[in-house]
């Protein structure tokens, strides 16, 4: 158990609404990541953080923003959700530059 908790685990919302997903870790890992997993695409990096208030964009960052005000929490926000953002979202942590531990995911459906 890598001590990663994602919330909520499931969410259904409507197009145009804001959505925030939370990732909480207990292992004090420096790096945190947000990925999305879609059929035919595998896991794709959205944003990552290399420290408090230090974040950078990933491969599919458009339409998403993140914040990390504490080591243990990494938030992913969809400012105005679109149907193309329906996906399973995974948070991950690591001590180096690549993810080592993943949470159990948030299944997000945007209608």
């Amino acid at each position: 158990d890598a001590g990663i908790t994602q919330s909520p685990r499931h969410k259904v919302t409507e197009t145009g609404t804001p959505v925030t997903l939370r990732c909480h870790q207990t292992e004090n890992h420096r790096y945190m990541y947000w990925y999305r997993q879609d059929p035919g695409h595998g896991l794709r990096l959205i944003h990552y953080s290399y420290g408090v208030k230090d974040t950078d964009k990933g491969e599919v960052s458009d339409g998403y923003s993140v914040s990390r005000s504490k080591t243990e929490d990494f938030l992913l926000t969809l400012e105005s959700a679109t149907s193309s953002q329906t996906s399973v979202y995974f948070c991950a942590t690591g001590t180096g530059g690549q993810p080592q531990h993943f949470g159990d995911g948030t299944r997000l459906s945007i209608l």
């Binding site: 059929p39 595998g42 990096l45 990552y48 531990h101 993943f102 159990d104």
Partner: protein
């Protein structure tokens, strides 16, 4: 176009059989990772290989990194139902999170 191609996409075998799944690319990777993912859960890191030709063993699982560092294979001996899952490979083109790319996976089912 996926940077990493995994084959086969789906594999269903009987308990006790051996199998090999593949992860191929035209790119050279500094390292390659294998994960297993079960339904409703996140991927779990199994192994990281970093040297061309490297072979690592994890109980009944054998991982090999190609000599040219463009491909990798995972061989499972005497498969068990507990091996069922989605096997993902991920290759790093360099250091940093932005340089790690995942394949789409091989979904393995081991029938008791």
């Amino acid at each position: 176009t996926q940077l990493l191609e995994q084959s086969p996409q789906f594999l269903s075998i009987q308990e006790g059989e051996n199998l090999t799944v593949y992860c191929n690319s035209s790119s050279v990777f500094s390292s390659l990772q294998w994960y297993r993912q079960e339904p409703g859960e996140g991927p779990v890191l199994l192994v990281t290989v970093v040297t061309g030709g490297e072979v690592k063993k994890l109980k009944r699982l054998t991982f090999q990194f190609g000599d040219a560092r463009k491909d990798s294979s995972l061989h499972i001996t005497a498969a068990q139902p507990g091996d069922t899952g989605l096997y993902l490979c991920a290759g790093a083109l360099g250091t940093g999170a932005n340089n790690l790319f995942f394949g789409t996976g091989t979904r393995l089912t081991v029938i008791p």
